[in-house]
Each structure stands twice: as C-alpha cells, then as structure tokens.
C-alpha cells in the first residue's frame, strides 16, 4: 500500500514523543521538540526559581534547563537514564530533563480523550488530553507553552546582612 503525501502530513500532526517522569508517562508533539540529547553537565545559577536547574553548553549555545517534575509538581524518584529535551520557545531555546524516552509513536485522534476533571489545575493548563497507547495511558502535554511560562528568575536580589542605622 502506497502512502500518499497527504497521509504523511496528517500523520506528523499526531506523532508524539513518549517519555517518563518516574511512573508517569507523557506525550509531547514531536514538532515541538528540536532535539534530544544526553544529559550534559549542568551549572547551577543563583537567584533562580526552584524549578530551574541551571545552564549547560550545547554545541556552543547556552541553554537553560528546567526541572519538569518540579514544574508539574509531581514527585519522582531519582531519574534512571535522564535525557534532555531541547525546545525552541519564543524567548529562545530552553530544555527540560526527563527520565527516559520510551518511543516516538502515533496517537490517533480517536485514541485521545479530554483530561479528567479531577486533575490539578496547574497541570490542566498544559495537559490537553489523555491518550491511549498500547494499553497504557499517557498525558498529552504542551511542552512549549509550559516552558515559555517558566519565569526562571527568582524575585529581587536580597541581601542577608544587617544594615540598620548605617549610611554611606
């Protein structure tokens, strides 16, 4: 059976990259992800939010790394084979750490349902559905939106020193 061009185009809209965060499986549209790389050395940065892990050097480009579990407020155990998903967001490239990549799969529209009402409101902003894949349920997530919302910076510079009654 020959696949026509139209078929291919339709398919790519339903191609997802399936990854794990602990026991949770997620699916992000393949077109959102620029690349997947081995976890490089990440450098911590002061004055950043708790969900921001640090920066890394990816082939000469400096990319910020977000902790997806913290962002989604999921508690996960130590990652087994962590991997970096790099995305191009509006403000520039940004990446997130995930536990492992399971596969790249097609999830047809008829296998996708709306997310359950019981879901946390935060997650609901970015989880746009629940998909069925080989007897497993995966949460469909809008990664680009999630990362674009990441504020990174942590309030104003605060100093801990006691400055009462001193002027210079």
């Amino acid at each position: 059976m020959e696949a026509s061009i139209e078929d291919d185009l339709e398919e790519s809209n339903n191609k997802f990259i399936i990854f794990q965060l602990g026991d949770n499986s997620f699916a992000a549209k393949l077109t959102e992800v620029r690349e997947v790389v081995e976890l490089p050395k990440i450098k911590q940065v002061p004055n950043t939010s708790t969900s921001f892990i640090g920066v890394c050097n990816l082939r000469g480009q400096i990319i910020g790394v977000v902790d997806l579990s913290k962002k989604l407020e999921i508690i996960t155990p130590e990652f087994e084979r962590p991997v970096l998903l790099v995305l191009d967001t509006e403000s520039g490239p940004l990446s997130c750490i995930v536990d492992k990549i399971n596969s790249v799969s097609i999830i047809e529209d008829n296998q996708i349902q709306k997310p359950p009402k019981a879901m946390e409101s935060i997650s609901r902003q970015y989880i746009f559905g629940v998909g069925k894949l080989n007897d497993n349920l995966v949460s469909l997530i809008r990664l680009n939106d999630l990362l674009s919302q990441e504020d990174i910076a942590n309030i104003q510079i605060t100093t801990n020193t006691d400055l009462k009654g001193v002027s210079n």
Binding site: K41, P46, N47, V55, N57, I62, T159, D162
Partner: protein, 553 residues
C-alpha cells in the same frame, strides 16, 4: 524584484545625503551645495524611473525643477526653501520605507506637489511665501507628523522595522584585510593538516605554523569585530535634523554644534540608541530652550546652542547632548517626586540624585504636556533602553544655564573584557569596565560595626566590604582555600568591595545570544562560555550595587 531592492537601498542612502546637503545649505548658501542637491535629485529621478516607480520619479522631478530654478538664481534659498526641501525628503524617506514592504505603495502627494509648484512660481523677493503663509495647510501637516514621531519610536525593541535583510556599509579596506588574513590562515592550516596526515607533530614547521595561525586568528578576530563599527556621523546628522526641524516648528532659534562624529560604535548599538537620543533632543528643545524673546531678555544669545558630542574612551563610547537653555528645576522635580510617592518630603537627597529621578515613569514636570514631549513616559523608556544596552546616563544641569546629558555605551555588544572569579566552586565573569580595582583584603585593616558589616579604608574612602555570595546565593561546595580578595566596584557614588573566593584570570568573553530570560536573572546580565567550555554567568555589578543602595537608604 532585486532591482527594486537595490534601488530602495540606494535611495535610502541618497536621501540621507540629501538631508545632509540641505543642512549644509542652511548653514552656507553656496552654489556647490545647491549643485549637490540637484545632482542627488537628478540621480534619484532617473533611477526610480528605471525601476518603474513613475509616481516617485515624478515627485522628485518637481523637486529637481525647483532646484534648477534656485540654481539659476531665480529663487531665494530662504529658510522656507530649505523647509520645503526637508519636508519633501521626509515624504520620500517614508515612501521609500513603505516600498520595502509594498512595492505598489503610493502616498497622497498632491498637497505637497501643490506647495512645491506654488513655491516655484514665486520670484525671489518674498522669502517666507507660500509655505508659512498657508496657515491652514500648515496647521494640519505638522501635527500628524509630530504624532507619529512620539509614541512609536520609544519602543526600543521596534528597531528591526521592515529590513529583514539589513545591509551595512563597510570600508573596502577592512574587507580586503579580512580576505587576506583568511588566505594566510588557509596556508598555515594546510601545513598543520599535512602534519596530521603524516603524523609528524614534532617538526619545527608545525610549531611555527601553529604560532603563526594563532597570531593570524587574533588579527582576524579584531578585524571581524570592527566590521560592525560605524561612525556616529549618520546618527548625529539625524539628531541635528530632528533638532532643527523642531526648532522651526516651535519658532525657537537653534544652532547645532556637532563634535566627534568620527567616533565609531557598533551598528546595532547605534540603531538601538537612536530613538532615546532623539527623545532627549526633543526634550531639550521643547522644554529646555527658551523662546528667542525670553533669551534676549535674559541676555543670552538669541540662537540657542545644542551640542552633540561623541567621545571615545578605552572601554566605551560617550555621547553628550547639552543645551544652553533653562536647565532643570530641582525643586519642581523634587515636589513632583514627593507627589508621585517616589520619595519623602523630608528625604535628604543630593542634587544629583534628584535629577536622576526624572528617569522614573510618570514624572513629568512640564507645566503643560505638549504634543511633542512631556507625557511623562519618555525618560524612563530612555533610561531602560540605555541600560539594556549595558550603558548609563548621567545628568548635569545648571539652572538658567542649561542641561547636559551624558550617555555612556559599550563599544560593542558582543565582546567584553572580563575578570573570571570563583565563588562557591563556580566561575563567574565580571566585566572589566565595571571594576575599579582588585584588592587583597589581607593588606587592609578591617573595621566592623556588627558581625556582618565590614569596612576598609581605601585611600581615605570608607568602603563597605560585602561577600558577593550574599547577592548570588548558591550551595557551598566546600570551602577551598579562599584567597581573601575583593573586587571594588563603583556605581553613582557608592563604592563596594565585593569579597570573592579567587581570581581565576582575565579573558575576553563573547556575550552569547541566548534565551532572553537568562539575561533577566537578578544580579546577572547574560551568559558566556569560558575557555574551558564551561558555561558561566556574567555578573551585573552596577545592578547589585543599585539594589544594595535601595535597601540601605
């Protein structure tokens, strides 16, 4: 399509020359200046016709006729004449810009053409005929122009406009130099590569080749960086034009003195700083400069002088704009600031600090908000724009004598001399231009008032000593040997010595294009990659001192 694009770029340039020639003509009414103008109009007419822009060409043709008449001494080159030429230039500049987006664009030019023809029909004896007497027409034309000049340009992010494929003029010599260097580098490369193939890394020739390659790469880097540098001349010309136009519109007599226009600055910095500077000039003329009668009554020269000066220092470029007008009113600013809640009635503030208050939004002391400026949203945008570029603004003013604004800017956006320090096991880059000096704390006696407040006496200045790690908190990675050094930095009169663990060295760093959000983290201005390949944050010392000021005050 290519022809059109080439024409549009050329036209943009020609229109710039036109403007310069008009300004020159205004200062010195010579036949050479007139000829220059005629030549430009003639060229513009011809080339626009050849790419099919008939309406455009016709418009220029009318101007050419006007110039022919002037050349033949049949017209007086009065201020009204100059005004009409400059107004036409503006029409053409806008027209050209629009054509970049929409090749079919054609504005409504009949009013303008009528004016030009009307002017041309007059003989040389009535200098202010036509243009200024048509008071109705006059009223409606200037105001729309003012309106579209104020709010939009102050959005400094809006600098890309239409020119997706921006071009830049580069001296041929620089290009040739770079081509030559690349050629030499290729030769050294083949020597090194051959050695790799033959696995012979120990011969003399390869060591020589590596050394030579190193030197060539250094030269290449310098030449490449200098490609983006442009003289301030173009920018200053634009400012002069704005100043004179406004002076004419407000009936104030203005003289513009331009100095140091050959100083060079990165093209992007020039593009981004243009609008803030325009705003400053408009402010100076609108609020600072008094009307001619008032100046006469104060025994000042009737023509107000606006000075625009460019100065080059080792680390940056300063642009100074000064006027000999009224100067800033300290008390009025203070009162307005108290009203807006920026400070308290009984705050003791130095004059300098009071003047800096005008950079807060919502603080306009202009008695009436004019169409031109004084909306109270201008100066803060100016300040933000300049500080986003890594620069600074200082104000100096003398009531009755005038105001001077000094804007200092980094020469290039992409490369910085930095001192690398280590703090809690991490490396950070500190721009050299922010550092006054580096001291060994062990050379000083440390005075402390409380356990956390330390000071040293640095050449008779009492300087606060603070740990940089207080501002950049991070997990401690074991206390390795700390060298007990401090970086002394100064920002608007406050000097602080920041204690760091070690000075790791000095290196030239490239400011990498990266996610915008990474440049907004408190205490940092951006990111870079060190020689080791490690990513590092670039520390923003002035910002840190400023926040310390706010807390301590």
């Amino acid at each position: 399509m290519d022809f059109l694009l080439t024409f549009l770029e050329e036209a943009t340039e020609m229109l710039e020359y036109w403007e310069a020639s008009c300004l020159k003509l205004e200062d010195s009414n010579t036949i050479e200046n007139l000829n220059d103008l005629f030549r430009i109009a003639h060229n513009l007419k011809g080339s626009s016709k050849s790419v099919g822009l008939t309406n455009y060409s016709d418009f220029v043709h009318k101007l050419e006729d006007l110039l022919v008449k002037a050349k033949d001494h049949l017209l007086d080159t009065s201020p009204a004449f100059i005004a009409i030429l400059l107004k036409s230039q503006k029409v053409l500049v806008d027209w050209t810009e629009q054509l970049f987006e929409d090749p079919q664009y054609c504005p409504e030019t009949s009013i303008m053409i009528e004016k030009i023809l009307h002017f041309k029909e007059q003989s040389c004896t009535s200098p202010s005929f036509g243009f200024f007497e048509d008071s109705d027409h006059n009223k409606e034309k200037p105001h729309p122009q003012i309106q579209d000049q104020t709010p939009a340009p102050l959005d400094h992010k809006n600098h890309h406009g239409h020119k997706g494929n921006e071009t830049i003029r580069v001296p041929l010599g620089k290009l040739d130099s770079i081509i030559r260097l690349v050629g030499e580098l290729t030769i050294q490369h083949s020597i090194i590569f051959a050695a790799k193939k033959n696995n012979s890394f120990t011969s003399n020739s390869i060591y020589e080749a590596i050394d030579l390659a190193d030197k060539i790469i250094n030269d290449l880097q310098n030449e490449a960086m200098s490609l983006r540098m442009q003289p301030l001349e173009g920018l200053f010309q634009r400012l002069e034009r704005v100043g004179k136009d406004l002076g004419r519109e407000l009936n104030k007599s203005i003289k513009v003195v331009v100095k140091g226009e050959s100083v060079e600055l990165d093209k992007t910095v020039i593009d981004l700083v243009k609008d803030p500077l325009i705003h400053i000039i408009r402010n100076a003329i609108d609020h600072g400069v008094e009307p001619p009668e008032e100046r006469k009554s104060l025994n000042k020269a009737e023509k107000a002088t606006i000075t625009i000066e460019g100065i080059q220092t080792p680390t940056n470029v300063s642009i100074i704009i000064s006027d000999d007008g009224r100067g800033l009113n300290r008390d009025r600013i203070f009162k307005k600031a108290v009203q807006s809640g920026l400070c308290n009635e009984d705050d003791e503030m130095k004059d300098k600090d009071i003047y800096q208050l005008i950079f807060h939004s919502g603080l306009s002391t202009a008695a009436e908000v004019t169409e031109v400026s004084g909306r109270g949203v201008g100066m803060d945008v100016v300040y933000n724009c300049v500080s986003d570029l890594g620069g600074d603004i200082e104000i100096d003013t003398k009531p009755g004598h005038g105001t001077t604004m000094k804007i200092s800017l980094p020469s290039t956006l992409s490369v910085l001399d930095a001192v690398i320090i280590s703090l809690n096991g991490s490396f950070y880059a500190l721009p050299l231009q922010d550092i006054k000096e580096i001291v060994h704390l062990s050379d000083f006696q440390i005075y402390s008032t409380t356990s956390s407040h330390k000071m040293i006496n640095l050449r008779d200045n009492v300087v606060n000593v603070m740990a940089l790690s207080h501002f950049l908190p991070c997990e401690e990675y074991g206390s390795e040997n700390k060298d007990n050094v401090a970086i002394v930095a100064k920002h608007s009169d406050r000097i602080i010595a920041f204690e760091v663990d070690k000075i790791a060295g000095q290196q030239v760093i490239f400011i990498h294009d990266t996610n915008e959000k990474l440049t907004k983290i408190p205490g940092f201005s951006g990111t870079t990659i060190l020689m080791s390949g490690e990513p590092a944050m670039i520390v923003n010392l002035p910002e840190i001192i400023k926040s310390y000021n706010l807390k301590a005050a």
